[in-house]
């Protein structure tokens, strides 16, 4: 019961925040509502009993990515110009609606095999076992830091003054 109420409240706020990201004129306010949307998604992870992922969502998205985005908004002085739409506004709207209709049709007509077992409650040990344990995801875990290192080096090279 509590999870259903939580889902509806968090979901509606998340959708409203996402709408204001694409509809608000002010870039800075759009960034703030994006942060609100990230927070609501973290709450949705909690209703799905993914506690570790909710913490990671808050640390990575609310903590780091939003700071990067706000920093980029401050460094590029487009705040005065707002966030106008290009001339593909109507076609983009139709593409989005068509995409939503198609994917919702596919999702609602697929017979998902719902399991009735209750979920694992503290997920952190299980995720650690999956990531680092025998027969788990150890190779992607080793590749991910290489990707992050390449991204950091690329970002430094791109923004460095000549």
């Amino acid at each position: 019961m509590g999870a259903s109420v939580g889902f509806w409240v968090l979901g509606i706020i998340a959708v409203l925040a996402a709408l204001s990201v694409v509809l608000l004129r002010d870039v800075f306010r759009a960034a703030l509502s994006l942060i609100l949307c990230f927070l609501m998604v973290a709450g949705l992870y909690l209703t799905l009993s993914a506690d570790f992922l909710a913490a990671v969502q808050i640390l990575v998205y609310v903590g780091a990515i939003s700071v990067l985005i706000i920093l980029a908004i401050m460094l590029t002085r487009e705040v005065q110009r707002g966030s106008p739409s290009n001339r593909f506004r109507l076609p983009a709207f139709f593409v989005a609606v068509l995409f939503f209709a198609g994917i919702a049709y596919a999702m609602l007509n697929t017979p998902w095999q719902i399991s009735s077992t209750p979920p694992l409650e503290p997920t952190t040990p299980a995720i650690a076992g999956l990531l680092f344990g025998e027969g788990g995801f150890i190779l992607p875990v080793e590749i991910a830091p290489v990707l992050l290192l390449a991204a950091i080096l690329g970002a430094i090279v791109l923004v460095r003054e000549k």
């Binding site: 990201v21 694409v22 998604v41 993914a50 992922l53 709207f93 995409f99 999956l130 992050l148 690329g154």
Partner: protein
């Protein structure tokens, strides 16, 4: 009772909003923010599948963690590119950055 379909529809709604923003906006930072919205929507779908289809295996949550890693790398490089373009052209209007267009 909230089930798998609710979360999937919510994720589809968020993804469509992000798709609209990525296609229709001119500010490159707003486009990047819309892409973040789409990645978050995919993560919600992953975690919902993990919770409702294989509740004891958590593979969806591990996939979501890797998506977050890639999203962090993408944001760092994307914002660096935007700042570099702004330094050269004094604009981040995506309709004016058309040097590679023929």
């Amino acid at each position: 009772m909230v089930g798998l379909e609710h979360y999937l529809i919510l994720s589809a709604v968020l993804f469509s909003i992000g798709l609209y923003g990525a296609l229709a906006k001119r500010n490159a930072i707003i486009i990047l923010m819309s892409i973040e919205l789409m990645l978050n929507a995919v993560n919600i779908a992953m975690v919902a599948f993990s919770r409702y289809v294989v509740p004891l295996m958590l593979t969806g949550q591990v996939f979501a963690i890797f998506i977050m890693v890639v999203a962090a790398a993408e944001v760092a490089v994307g914002l660096a590119i935007i700042i570099a373009i702004y330094r050269h052209r004094q604009t981040i209007d995506a309709t004016k950055i058309d040097l590679l267009k023929w």
